[in-house]
């Protein structure tokens, strides 16, 4: 909670002001798919210990932003800094070593690997391998179902269980920052509720900063300490959930 | 532009005239070189039509080369039919065979198609080498071709070479060509614009098979001797692939340039055939890595100008 007090003063609406001391700093990045201009001068800051949420309709550029931070896409201009270190141009497998882990959209299990093997692949980087058993126990504690099904092929899991596995897999490398891409997509409401509880748990107990992308505004506002609203590849609104009016959010979201 | 166009036309006429009169002023060696060039050109133009314009990577063109060659031998030798008729029968048999295998082979996509066509050719190779009627693996001599003069064979080779270029040129400017190029660029989009993909590809496959079979007849007028292990060998397709890739896949001029490179290397290193194939292989890989559009494709891109443009205005 300390993190919010510290950062709330620095938040401003609409503008791209950067808060000093942010864990992740994205400054004025532009991203293209060939000549498709997907992100336009996007700036965000994620302070350590927070849950920051990016909201927007589909096509708004949320996933593009996450993928750029993870190194899957490369910004053509602008800066991405993590712990003060420049991240532009790193490949996704390199950003993992730096401490950024991603739960990709659609879960992206390794279907022909068992649950346990999926988790083991999650700690492929040498630093994480050493602490495998310890972290594994913590993940089984967080998601007991994964422990029960560890020898099943991941393709046999239900959608919600797969989402848990995807989160568990991303936690195996003990990241500093975890990126969640549309984790509620295609899941039943009750399951979504559980997943979001875990996200909060990971953040508060595990001391892991989280950046999440979500289509569902209410869910996001509830979970996050700070939100950004994107539309047509641009940040339209940002702030602390309580301070934003429903009307402003609606307008920013639909681009009205 | 008009000047350029008429200049180009005169250029063509001059080249064609020079080639026609070649036996009267050049040495036999050069006539032979152009003969080989023409046949390779015609065959690779047909592979290019498949791979470059409808995205069908066939590794089984040797099936039609073998069929065309054997048709010439069998019909002229066993049945005493005129040579030219036998060549046409060879083309027809190739089309029919292509039609026969098209049902299974078109169920296979990309790499499966490649290996499938190759396996079909290998199957033919074994069948022919176990077939008493065609003399097993010992092969046949195309004796009726002994009667032909060298010049006759040269002109028929030159004829199929030029005809293949003209055929592809006019084909590409036809409705079929338009459909093929659309399919090559974007299969799904072409379908939702009304292009019947299966029919376009099938037509292309049949044309390519028929012409390859007929050209092979001319080839075996020159080779005289046909034997299943070489006639149905993958070596033919290796050449066609290299020629087309080096020259520029999906361009009409590509196989022309490629055939030049091939025949030049082959003649220059005639004592070391494996060296020339080795060099060709290395060039081909280099081309795919550095200039995937081949020599002509790259030149066209740089100059923004096509000599034999299939473009319609």
């Amino acid at each position: 909670m300390h993190g919010i007090e510290r950062s709330s003063g620095g938040l401003s609406r609409g503008g791209g002001r950067i808060v000093a001391g942010a864990l992740l700093r994205v400054e004025k990045i532009d991203v293209f798919y060939h000549d498709f201009h997907a992100l336009w001068e996007v700036s965000i800051a994620v302070e350590e210990g927070l849950v920051v949420s990016i909201i927007g309709a589909n096509g708004a550029g949320k996933s593009t932003l996450l993928n750029t931070i993870a190194g899957v896409l490369k910004p053509s201009t602008g800066v991405i800094e993590f712990f003060g270190k420049r991240m532009n141009g790193l490949m996704p497998y390199q950003t993992v070593s730096e401490g950024i882990s991603m739960v990709p959209e659609g879960r992206r299990m390794f279907p022909r690997l068992t649950v346990l093997e999926n988790l083991e692949v999650g700690c492929y980087i040498p630093r994480a391998r050493k602490r495998k058993n310890e972290v594994l126990q913590r993940i089984y504690h967080l998601f007991p179902i994964l422990g029960e099904r560890k020898n099943q092929f991941s393709s046999t899991l239900s959608g919600g269980e797969q989402q848990m596995l995807a989160i568990g897999r991303a936690l195996m490398c003990e990241p500093k920052l975890i990126l969640f891409d549309e984790i509620s997509l295609g899941l039943a409401p009750l399951v979504i509720k559980n997943i979001y509880q875990t996200v909060r748990q990971i953040n508060s107990e595990g001391k892991i900063t989280a950046l999440l992308v979500e289509q569902d505004i209410q869910r996001s506002l509830k979970a996050a300490h700070k939100v950004y609203i994107m539309q047509s590849g641009r940040i339209r609104l940002q702030g602390i959930p309580k301070e934003l009016s429903q009307e402003d959010i609606r307008k920013a979201y639909f681009g009205l | 532009m008009n000047l350029l166009r008429s200049g180009r036309l005169y250029g063509f006429v001059l080249v064609v005239l020079a080639l026609i009169s070649l036996p009267y002023w050049a040495t036999r060696y050069w006539v032979l070189v152009i003969l080989l060039f023409s046949i390779n050109l015609a065959l690779s133009q047909m592979w290019n039509l498949l791979a470059g314009y409808s995205g069908l990577i066939s590794l089984g063109q040797q099936a039609f080369i073998g069929l065309g060659g054997y048709a010439l031998a069998v019909f002229s030798l066993y049945y005493g039919l005129p040579i030219w008729l036998s060549i046409i029968i060879g083309g027809t048999i190739s089309v029919l065979f292509a039609l026969l295998i098209s049902a299974p082979i078109f169920r296979m996509r990309s790499v499966y198609f490649a290996i499938g066509t190759w396996t079909v050719a290998e199957t033919l190779r074994i069948l022919f080498s176990n077939w008493k009627y065609v003399g097993y693996g010992m092969g046949l001599f195309v004796k009726p071709a002994y009667a032909l003069s060298f010049n006759t064979i040269y002109y028929s080779a030159l004829g199929v070479g030029i005809a293949s270029v003209a055929l592809v040129y006019f084909l590409l400017r036809s409705k079929l060509g338009l459909g093929l190029m659309a399919i090559r660029d974007e299969e799904t989009a072409s379908e939702t614009l009304g292009v019947d993909i299966f029919r376009c590809k099938l037509n292309c496959f049949l044309i390519s098979a028929g012409v390859t079979g007929a050209v092979s007849g001319v080839l075996y007028l020159h080779n005289i001797f046909i034997q299943p292990y070489s006639a149905f060998g993958i070596d033919w397709t290796v050449r066609l692939v290299f020629i087309t890739i080096i020259g520029g896949i999906g361009t009409i001029e590509g196989p022309i340039i490629g055939s030049f490179v091939y025949v030049f290397l082959q003649q220059w290193l005639s004592d070391y055939p494996s060296v020339s194939l080795l060099i060709l292989g290395i060039i081909a890989i280099g081309v795919i890595l550095i200039a995937p559009k081949g020599i002509m494709g790259t030149i066209q891109e740089k100059l923004g100008f096509e000599f034999l443009s299939p473009r319609r205005k």
């Binding site: 993870a70 899957v72 490949m91 996704p92 497998y93 993992v96 070593s97 882990s101 990709p104 992206r108 299990m109 390794f110 279907p111 022909r112 690997l113 093997e117 083991e120 692949v121 999650g122 492929y124 980087i125 994480a128 391998r129 490398c173 | 791979a51 990577i57 299974p104 169920r107 296979m108 990309s110 790499v111 499966y112 490649a114 290996i115 499938g116 190759w118 396996t119 079909v120 290998e122 199957t123 074994i126 069948l127 080498s129 176990n130 290796v238 692939v241 290299f242 890739i245 070391y272 060296v275 194939l277 080795l278 060709l280 292989g281 290395i282 081909a284 890989i285 795919i288 890595l289 995937p292």
Partner: protein, 291 residues
């Protein structure tokens, strides 16, 4: 009826043993197809390259071909790694056809290098066991080499499957084969993984090459023959399972020897091709593939 079956025992047993050899020929191709999504048209030539390398080593050290594996396997692994890392990886992103054509070019280059160095003469890795047979049940003589092939093949497959299920690297390779993008998000450098997979596949080609060389004569141009066999094994056995590939080999071996038995020796290869074409037509993903 009984005598008819007794007559079939020979081709069946020999076919199964030969199938083991086919399995090891196909396994490397299957791995690369499954993991890198590349149809390595040079796989047959890598097998034959290994046969020649073994021949050279064998003559130089006056040793048995099986012993040469100590050198040949690492050598082939290195060759495979570099081919993938510096050549094939560079064309993978360019679509389905360029990698296919590069591999095709590679195949021709390898054949012609072998031709230049070793001449077109037939070679064989002749050892004391080459001509030995074991009598079985009084009516069947099993060639010892076939037995060696079968055991060599099974051993390699067991070792590989242990590697894939027990090591981080093995699991990472399988993960990259399931979903390249997601694997990268786990910190896996998939380009290196592909090169390692090709190194392993070339290692199996080394084993296959030595066994092939001990069993049959080979020429610089024999590669494509084994390529089609390897492809047949992959297609019949389906992708992604070592065991499936092995069974694919057995089916192909059986089909060939039974075909030769009924139609005559000239049709041994033909029956294999026909099986391949039938499977390609009706179930191009392979008989043992899931879904």
């Amino acid at each position: 009826m009984l005598s008819f079956l007794a007559e079939l025992k020979g081709p069946i047993v020999n076919g199964l043993l030969l199938g083991g050899l086919y399995g090891i020929i196909g396994i490397g191709m299957s791995m690369i197809f499954g993991i890198v999504r590349l149809v390595n048209l040079a796989h047959g030539d890598l097998v034959i390259l290994a046969s020649y390398l073994s021949l050279v080593t064998m003559v130089y050290f006056h040793t048995s071909p099986l012993i040469t594996l100590i050198l040949i396997i690492p050598a082939m692994c290195v060759i495979g790694f570099f081919l993938q890392y510096y050549l094939l990886n560079r064309v993978l992103a360019k679509g389905m056809n360029p990698p296919l054509l590069v591999a095709f070019g590679l195949s021709i280059i390898l054949q012609n290098i072998l031709l230049l160095v070793f001449t077109p003469d037939a070679r064989a890795l002749v050892t004391s066991i080459s001509v030995k047979t074991i009598p079985v049940g009084g009516f069947l003589n099993l060639p010892v080499v076939y037995l060696v092939d079968f055991i060599g093949s099974i051993t390699t497959i067991v070792l590989l499957s242990r590697f894939f299920s027990r090591t981080y690297l093995g699991k990472a390779i399988r993960a990259a084969s399931d979903d390249e993008g997601a694997a990268q998000l786990m910190g896996i450098n998939t380009k290196t993984i592909y090169a390692i997979a090709m190194a392993l596949a070339s290692g199996t080609a080394a084993v296959a090459g030595v066994l092939v060389g001990m069993t049959f004569t080979f020429y610089p141009h024999t590669g494509p023959e084994y390529l089609i066999i390897a492809f047949g094994v992959v297609i019949v056995g389906g992708l992604g399972s070592l065991l499936g590939t092995f069974f694919g080999g057995l089916i192909l071996g059986l089909a060939q020897l039974l075909g030769a038995h009924f139609l005559g020796p000239g049709f041994q290869l033909l029956s294999g091709y026909i099986i391949l074409l039938i499977v390609l037509t009706f179930k191009p993903t392979g008989l043992f593939a899931k879904g």
